[in-house]
């Protein structure tokens, strides 16, 4: 592999590239999905390919191929340079990259309970058991899935980087549906979007205990059909960790992506309200809000040893004591602000160019127990598990709804509420935060479906969160 990497870089230079890098990736994955006690699909996938990124005439070019041969490497390297030269016809200032330490490294997965070594029968049995565990009269559909993958990535650059990284991922989840013909409800465990995911081994899946949670899931989905609708008005709310992961993702993760800030996602994913003149000035949230970007968390789904520019993973603050202090960035964007890159350039596959993505973006834990969070609310709602989500293209006005909620009356949980919703404006919302769950309640949620970029890139990211309390929030939007 190293020979092919070096060949690509030689060819790129020969064709006129002032900078070049290549990612050569081999991947395998296995996905078992079951429905209503029957296997829906078992899909085993293997993929190999490479992508070459170059700067020539001051502009970017990228080409990729699934045919990994020396001749194809030469062809694709030449294509990437030709594309860069075409880009240079409509250019701006020549691309400059912030300087980084160049690494030569080999990073194994470090996973001892490799899910690839677990017999497929065991995964099939787990998925089937999970759907059977949710069986109950009135439950219309029961879905479960079990996932694992392996990736080996070689990265090399004309600056001398040569890094091999391995990654093992595991995940699982389940959901039950119910309907009375007029209302449809669902209940997921442990989270929506197919469940929970991590760069961990089989024990991560087993520890979820899907079958052990099936009865509760089916009872809750049936109860939701008869539950009261969300009241309308302003209430104090406590949001569970799973929905907080989405809250952090949409209202802090995306707006701190520096490519959005510089307008390079304006035609698709949108811009950001968090502009550079607000850095170290905007009181993004209350004093207890601390948000980090941390790709070094062991097992975090959004973590890694090096990003796709060869920048070593770091932990940095994006919000410290409520103050906006940092961005997710690339070498190119960091150079524009004179900053040191923090390492957030990631591509979803060998066929995609790296762009600024979330890593593990985390709301740091506070000091309250769950009882203290709920106990501090006289009249409010506790909301759990993401149902729907929407936010404007500057990341200000958001509206989210949860699968399930419970009234909070005089510091205690009360009656169940069906699909509670809440809405707000990002900084106003985060400044109303007055309680964050402690480290015992904190969990790093794996999010498998973060979309961005053209052509589309679906990225694996994560968010460490705990249940969190907000005051005087508008709830109950819609019917």
């Amino acid at each position: 592999m190293k020979d092919l990497v070096e060949r690509a870089l030689r060819k790129a230079r020969l064709e006129g590239a002032s900078y070049g890098d290549i990612r050569l990736i081999t991947e395998t994955s296995e996905h078992v999905s079951a429905k209503d006690g029957v296997i829906k699909a078992i899909v085993s996938d293997s993929s190999v390919g490479f992508g070459i990124r170059v700067i020539a005439d001051g502009a970017w070019g990228f080409s990729s191929s699934s045919t990994v041969t020396p001749d194809e490497i030469d062809k694709v390297a030449a294509e990437a340079v030709a594309i860069a030269k075409a880009s240079a016809k409509v250019t701006h200032d020549p691309v400059k990259l912030a300087e980084i330490k160049i690494h030569v490294d080999d990073v194994p997965s470090g996973i001892s309970d490799d899910p690839r070594k677990v017999p497929l029968e065991k995964k099939v049995a787990l998925a089937l058991d999970a759907t059977r565990s949710m069986e109950a009269q009135g439950v219309i559909a029961r879905n479960a899935n079990v996932y694992n993958s392996y990736q080996e990535k070689h990265f090399g650059s004309t600056e001398g980087a040569m890094i091999r990284q391995e990654k093992i991922e595991s995940g699982a989840g389940m959901e039950a549906y119910a309907s009375d013909g007029k209302t449809f409800v669902k209940r997921s465990y442990p989270q929506s979007f197919g469940g929970d995911f991590a760069r961990l081994g089989w024990s991560f899946v087993e520890n979820m205990d899907l079958p052990g949670n099936g009865k509760r899931v089916s009872q809750e989905v049936l109860a939701l059909l008869k539950a009261k609708p969300c009241p309308k008005g302003r209430k104090d709310i406590v949001i569970d960790g799973a929905q907080m992961a989405l809250q952090v993702h949409e209202s802090l993760g995306h707006p701190t992506e520096l490519d959005r800030v510089f307008g390079t996602e304006a035609g698709y994913a949108g811009k950001s309200f968090m502009m550079p003149d607000m850095l170290n000035k905007l009181q993004y949230g209350s004093k207890i809000v601390n948000i980090t970007a941390d790709a070094t968390i062991p097992g975090a789904f959004g973590g890694f040893a090096y990003d796709d520019e060869g920048v070593k993973a770091k932990r940095v603050f994006l919000v410290k004591d409520g103050l906006f202090v940092g961005y997710l960035d690339s070498r190119e964007d960091a150079a524009k602000l004179g900053m040191k890159p923090m390492g957030a350039m990631r591509a979803s596959s060998w066929a995609r160019i790296p762009i600024v993505r979330m890593v593990s973006v985390n709301l740091e834990p506070g000091d309250l127990t769950f009882d203290q969070l709920i106990g501090g609310v006289q009249d409010g709602i506790f909301m759990a598990t993401t149902l729907s989500w929407s936010i404007d293209d500057h990341r200000l006005n958001f509206q989210f709804s949860a699968e399930i909620g419970w009234e909070i009356k005089n510091g205690k949980l009360g009656e169940m509420i069906r699909t509670p919703s809440y809405t707000g404006i990002t900084p106003e919302f985060w400044n109303s935060c007055d309680g964050i769950g402690n480290r015992d309640l904190w969990h790093v949620w794996g999010v498998p479906n973060c979309g961005k970029g053209e052509p589309s890139q679906i990225m694996h990211v994560s968010h460490g969160t705990a249940p969190t309390r907000f005051r005087n929030i508008e709830v109950g939007v819609g019917s």
């Binding site: 699934s66 860069a84 880009s87 016809k89 160019i353 929407s390 293209d393 699909t419 819609g478």
Partner: protein, 437 residues
């Protein structure tokens, strides 16, 4: 025809009661621009092979993108191994039989061979138009070609080649934006100047936006906005799987008039304005199908699995087997009416024009209640005229309710977001909150 050979080779290596092989080749390029210069310019060349083996009504699926004989042998073996490990499916798996397909002709050569230089020239042309107007541009110009081959152990053999190109542009001033796009299987139909003029017009006309209060307003939805709503209805409720799972708005209302009688929706795989498809991803032949007729839901779409399970006829809407079985309409066309957009605007005393939506999401699938933002051109209409741009608003409303209130439909239909649709005028859309731009 190389991918057909790959498909046949993989089929020859697989053993089972039934086997099918799907091979997809994709050659795709995209030039992305922002701040009026090209900042990303990419090319992808890939082949994907999916083998499905059925043994004793047990199914296994394996995929690879390595197409040498050894790898094809391995992927076929793996699919068989998975089938052996899978529990027996209670529904009989019946792969389609050989069929005749409607001939659709060869893809456009100029689209296949569009170069990065040509795409850059188009971007330059648009930037040169927008710069003197004080507008910056962002967007993407993509072109792709490829082929799809499906063979199965019943002797079915399906092969199709395709090509398409798309230009999408957002024009931005300090306080406004406008977007436009054009998708086509024939790149010569893309007129960059026309696309940028459309986007720029909306950006210029929505400068200095004013605010209105949330509430219900009469509305003109441009075809972009209509397509985005129809796309949500399709993804969340026009499938036999959604019907089985109790979440299909369409299945719940078959035969009932729930939308305006001015709304007729079909799935037409041969509409030349969309990506023409003679067969689905199992090789079953496609044909035109009514989804909603004059406001009355007609039927959801099926693949071979749901057809066997329910006794309904297969409508030819299978996705690749690896998707886990979710039949989907891929050529949705909303039929046009008799009005122009200007005529629709002229009939509104006080209302709004929505160019497009952003980040829409269904909250309640049976009611089709959704929330989402407006984007790239929201306008205030007073006394039959557009009088100013508006700051963006959040919509929380039922798509069924909005389309039940449709009184006029545009006499032109265009492709956007996978849907061919016209603009429409509806009696009401509910804005639930404001944002700050």
């Amino acid at each position: 025809m190389r991918i057909l050979d790959i498909a046949k080779t993989a089929l020859s290596f697989a053993s089972g009661d039934q086997v099918d092989v799907l091979v997809h080749h994709n050659d795709y390029s995209l030039t992305r621009f922002a701040n009026s210069y090209i900042h990303q310019n990419v090319k992808e060349n890939s082949i994907d092979v999916t083998v499905r083996v059925v043994r004793d009504n047990r199914q296994g699926i394996a995929q690879t993108n390595i197409v040498d004989p050894e790898s094809l042998k391995e992927v076929a073996r793996k699919a068989g191994e998975i089938a052996d490990l899978s529990p027996k499916n209670p529904v009989e798996i019946k792969l389609p039989k050989p069929a005749e397909y409607t001939a659709i002709g060869k893809p456009d050569e100029a689209t296949i061979s569009l170069t990065p230089e040509a795409r850059a020239d188009a971007v330059a042309q648009m930037v040169n138009y927008a710069n003197p107007l004080g507008l910056t541009l962002a967007g993407a110009y993509s072109s792709g070609s490829g082929s799809l081959a499906i063979v199965n152990s019943n002797g079915l053999e399906a092969y199709n080649e395709f090509a398409d190109a798309e230009l999408k542009v957002t024009a931005m001033s300090e306080d406004s934006s406008g977007a436009a796009g054009f998708w086509t299987p024939r790149v010569s139909e893309i007129k960059p100047l026309e696309v940028v003029k459309e986007a720029a017009g909306r950006a210029i006309n929505s400068k200095k936006p004013v605010e209105i209060e949330p509430g219900e307003y009469e509305v003109v939805l441009l075809h972009y906005a209509v397509a985005e709503l129809i796309s949500m209805m399709n993804w969340t409720g026009i499938s036999a799987r959604a019907a089985e799972e109790g979440r299909s708005w369409l299945a719940n209302n078959i035969g009932k008039k729930i939308l305006s009688d001015k709304i007729t929706i079909v799935d037409d795989p041969f509409d030349p304005r969309s990506s023409v498809r003679p067969f689905d991803f199992e090789g079953f032949p496609k044909s035109k199908m009514a989804l909603v007729d004059k406001g009355v839901p007609v039927d959801v779409v099926y693949d071979s699995y749901f057809a066997t399970k329910t006794g309904h006829k297969n409508t030819g809407h299978a996705l690749p087997a690896s998707s886990g079985g979710h039949p989907l309409a891929l050529n949705v066309v909303v039929e046009g009416g008799t009005s122009t957009v200007d005529e629709m605007i002229s009939k509104i005393k006080k209302g709004v024009l929505v160019s497009r939506f952003w980040y829409t999401n269904i909250m309640r699938p049976l009611e089709q209640e959704f929330t989402g933002m407006t984007r790239d051109g929201l306008f205030l209409i007073e006394n039959g005229k557009i009088v100013s741009g508006l700051r963006n608003m959040r919509v929380t409303d039922s798509i069924i309710r909005i389309f039940a209130g449709v009184e006029e439909v545009e006499n032109v239909t265009r492709y956007h977001d996978g849907i061919v649709a016209p603009a429409m005028r509806s009696k009401g859309i509910i804005f639930s909150s404001k944002t700050k731009f």
